[in-house]
Assembly symmetry: C2
Homo-oligomer: 383 residues x 2
């Protein structure tokens, strides 16, 4: 049976990129390899909307987040963690592991942290050294207003650290204009690559903070990486094949045009929400939806975990389920990376069919129709 | 022109493995993915010669070494670093970054640290919490007698940490029998994979040390990884495509038979040394040679850096040059991973031709002949 991946990371990888991964491995300290890395890092500056250099790391996204904490926070300092879901929680866990005191700003899962909440936290904790947020909180399908957060944090001594792992590339994220001090992403989301690479962009404020920071780091030492990047190289042996693949993936997105990439994600997300609503399903995050993934509440009486497994194992359509307290209650449809209108149609149709099979009251085709009414906007002009 | 990679990492990747990397990416938390990971980790136990579980990390080998230090050494403790080259130096740099005091046991580049030197260091520093060594010191082509080190360290309270990145798989390394407490390797050496994965095996003593260790760690937290591995999973999103590829590479090595893999490396190394000697070239490490790579001293009057670049850019044969104070003085011929007799013949022929082109007195074919006399031992039996 055909396999279909509609989870919020890893995401489907374009065939052109996969073929790049199958090319013979070449030595990484050569003029040719330097040229490839330089091209990738330059393209990424465009994706990050930054004039600053991009630091590459061979790790999952989590490694990039750890790097942000370990390089820029003094031990014993304080960080405000904006927590709207599991990935906000991860920021707090990393801070704790590194002996950084945390102030949590929590919202119920499905809601976004509001700028006023951050303003109040900054006022109550003027000594905070950092504010940690997610761009897209994939566990709930919430998107954060980083531009508003950035305005507030820029006026404070704190640094703004953003986990943009599942959002960057899928939505606009203007690192410099929005005053993001460290912006981190991973390869296996909008960048259409297998997992294994992380990237960070640092502001001048962040680089200055690395001077004072005394937490131990070696593999994730931004200063070593910066020295590497200045020589169009990396501090440690990089995942070369992934860098080769990323060059091709970035070329594809450049050809599509970044505004078009963002508009596509926004449209696919809107179509997915329209479909769920038409099917009578509630959205977990109706107010501040992320363009990366949509969390749909499953109807009462449907065993969500069984539905998820049925979709994955019998229909071979892999969504993501709910995590922790959301387990079995939601299903997350990703529209992230190498996906188009027909992937959304497939996802919605699979959900309709599976719900029907599980005895829920759904009118087959109703969700797909609602999705198509949105997707029609994205049709190419007639020739 | 054909490209030939004869450097000690990254090493050539078999076509079968490359094709595996080009397969569609699938979700990593599924029964299917768990099965693949479990098979890989089980095969690796065999490579490591250990009954203990293997901890997978998505990083270069350096990340695995940092993990060993950060998880098992108390801050402010003392480590004896056995330094026979650049990679021994790396152990010391990591210890320094993590506030671990270091005692260096140095030998001139080209020599191996002797067990008696370690015995003396252990006697002088009975409070040492760890001894850090390389198995194969690739920067000089030296192999260390880890079995002898292990006997000494087992009688002390210290842990034995081994950087087996370029050696494991190319030579016997009996983790359990030799009392190695943490044994670390990477994917891009004998394991015939692109860079991006590291692995560590921990002894019970090492696991006990993780309890007392208080250095901060999160991404490289062995206890989180152990929990993941118990569920046939990983703590963080792994480099899935590399794990898929590794399964195939391990299948190939299992089919060859590990004793045969080791014998092949030993034979190719011996052939390379015989060739260099026949050409009148001195070996940097004649006494304790590594089966992974051979460092050959270049004749006086030959510009080593220019020779290296000529081989790489004009003949498209990539060796490794010398690093730091060995720059321009040596050339390192690797015989590591997916390599056979004809790769050694090619490497030696390329070296003869390049030396000839640079005006050195070499009899063309003499090195190849000497290599063939050794390689003849490995010929298959007549049908």
């Amino acid at each position: 049976m055909k396999y279909r991946l509609l989870a919020p990371g890893p995401t489907p990888v374009p065939e052109e990129t996969l073929l790049e991964l199958a090319k013979p491995v070449k030595y990484h300290r050569t003029p040719e390899a330097r040229q490839i890395l330089a091209e990738v890092l330059q393209d990424l500056q465009y994706v990050f909307c930054t004039r600053n250099s991009i630091m590459p790391m061979t790790s999952s996204g989590t490694g990039g987040l750890e790097a942000a904490i370990a390089n820029c926070l003094p031990a014993g300092s304080k960080a405000i963690c904006l927590i709207a879901g599991r990935f906000g929680e991860r920021w707090r866990s990393i801070c704790k592991a590194f002996g950084v005191e945390t102030v949590a700003v929590n919202v119920p899962y499905g809601q976004a942290v509001q700028p006023e909440q951050l303003a109040a936290a900054l006022k109550a904790h003027p000594d905070a050294a950092a504010v940690c947020s997610t761009l897209s909180e994939t566990s709930t399908g919430v998107g954060h207003d980083i531009a508003a957060f950035g305005k507030l944090v820029a006026a404070a001594p704190a640094l703004l650290l953003v986990d943009a792992i599942s959002g960057l590339g899928a939505m606009e994220c203007r690192t410099d204009d929005w005053h993001i001090d460290i912006n981190v992403t991973g390869s296996q989301k909008a960048l259409m690559l297998p997992p294994g690479l992380a990237f960070a962009a640092l502001s001048e404020r962040a680089w200055k903070a690395t001077e004072a920071a005394r937490l131990p780091r070696f593999y994730f030492d931004f200063k070593r990486e910066r020295k590497g990047v200045a020589e169009r190289s990396t501090a440690w042996t990089p995942a070369i094949s992934l860098i080769q693949g990323l060059r091709v993936a970035l070329q594809m997105m450049r050809a599509e045009g970044w505004p078009n990439v963002h508009a596509r994600h926004e449209r696919l997300a809107r179509a997915t929400r329209a479909a769920a609503t038409a099917l009578g399903l509630r959205l977990l995050a109706p107010e501040s939806p992320s363009p990366a993934a949509t969390a749909v509440m499953l109807p009462e009486g449907v065993d969500g975990s069984a539905l998820f497994r049925y979709l994955r194992d019998r229909m071979r359509v892999t969504f993501a389920g709910g995590q922790d307290k959301l387990k079995g209650k939601i299903i997350r449809l990703a529209h992230l990376g190498y996906v188009d209108a027909f992937d959304v149609v497939t996802g919605v149709a699979a959900l309709e069919l599976a719900l029907h099979h599980f005895g829920a009251q759904v009118e087959l085709g109703r969700g797909v129709g609602a999705a198509e009414r949105v997707l029609a906007e994205g049709l190419p002009a007639r020739g």
